[in-house]
Symmetry: none
Subunit: 257 residues, 2 copies
């Protein structure tokens, strides 16, 4: 059976399901009125209220209220879950070491306890990241500039690794800094440091610095200009349709951008 659910169970019955689910790697949700205590890197205390608690077989625990994307309390993967009944309450405890952290959820009222078997899996493919931007340029370096030839990614310099390194049509060294979205002054500073560092290595070759991002703020554009650096506007994804589609192509909605 893929899902087991108890509706308003006695604590004792809930305990049985939790222990069984924790034991055989099922995912669990508990909804009810509870208090939460956390102590570890910080400390917190949450008074009684209705919350949804999710326990994953990898040791993750999440306590969600009816608001916000972030759990109001949580514990990261790698923790050990333990259920017990104490003082007439169902308690779920999640602990880990290094750092020492402990989360206690004490239910005084249980509305629902469910355990789910997760068997089918499939991985996520995300596009539009800085890595995508890099890939896009490596596939077609002319997007940066005609004649640009990348020679290395993450090339080490005295100022740290640069995103992309290569040479232009005139064989001058080119340092490229990639950002997946609109950039502020910090990116210009970073590129400045990289160019200075590479300039030390190739003193007579006129090292160029190019910032590649969808756009820049005005102040940053001025800063780049002052420092003799360049900017190329480029999105991580092509403006046309370059998506990772997947399933049946039922003629779904056209997408006027």
């Amino acid at each position: 059976m893929s899902v087991t659910t108890l509706h308003r169970p006695a604590h004792r019955d809930a305990l049985g399901l939790l222990e069984s689910a924790f034991g055989d790697g099922r995912m669990v949700t508990v909804f009810g009125r509870c208090r939460v205590e956390y102590d570890g890197r910080a400390s917190s205390s949450l008074g009684p209220g209705d919350r949804l608690v999710v326990c994953k077989p990898d040791g993750t625990i999440l306590v969600h209220t009816d608001e916000n994307r972030k759990p109001v309390n949580w514990q990261p993967p790698g923790c050990t879950h333990q259920a017990s009944v104490r003082d007439g309450r169902l308690r779920i405890r999640s602990e880990r070491t290094s750092p020492d952290e402990r989360l206690d959820v004490a239910f005084e009222r249980l509305e629902q306890v469910s355990a789910y078997e997760v068997t089918d899996r499939s991985d996520l493919t995300l596009t539009g990241s800085e890595e995508d931007l890099r890939q896009r340029i490596l596939e077609d370096p002319s997007l940066v500039e005609a004649g640009f030839e990348p020679t290395a990614t993450e090339r080490e310099t005295a100022a740290g690794p640069v995103d992309l390194f290569g040479s232009d049509a005139a064989d001058r060294p080119v340092v490229v800094e990639l950002k997946r979205r609109r950039v502020g002054p910090s990116a210009a500073s970073q590129l400045t440091r990289y160019v200075a560092a590479v300039d030390e290595e190739f003193p007579e070759e006129g090292v160029r610095g190019i910032l590649v991002a969808p756009s820049v703020t005005d102040r940053t554009a001025a800063m780049l200009d002052e420092r003799g650096l360049e900017f190329v506007a480029l999105d991580p994804v092509g403006d046309g349709v370059s998506e990772g589609d997947s399933d049946v192509g039922s003629g779904d909605d056209a997408e006027p951008e």
Copy 2:
């Protein structure tokens, strides 16, 4: 009724519950085999698999697999949920504008659909942060030292902003560095820099530097001593029980705001 649950429902029945729950502000969980498509700031595609989907009345949607703390896909608060049946699949769509983002979850198999009424609430009070420590001192500066008077927080200096700035009973300038837990040498170095910077501003006034934290390492204590700096032991929270209350004001700790 606080919880409504459908076990392996027909899409049509699930749709009814979802629309009703979205309408009257209930929280929803759906477990089953689904695909997920996201398009917005980035794009992603998630093939078929078993996932737990949580829809909150504030517009949040979370898609969780059985691993990791982070949802594999999500939508932040403020989005609008919509359920429909298309191509024999139950689809939940969540959209928002600025930025334009859309998340589609298409279930081909539904194991469980539940709707929860969240009535009782209680706010979290995270204690033990540096901000708590600052508040605690601002409320009672004598915790640092009798006669200490804070005049500014985050006061700018040549070495950066100091946590707390003020004067002692003898009117000497005092720089206070706050740490919410046991500190190592870096905190002493930081305080040293601040004191040096402020000393430039008040050359003849004998600027004092005080590190406030629960405790220090031995080496750090020695370092402070060498440099003529001081240490005050203080926790971000009072030593007694310091609960985050919110609703019923059972007579616990007095919290003079």
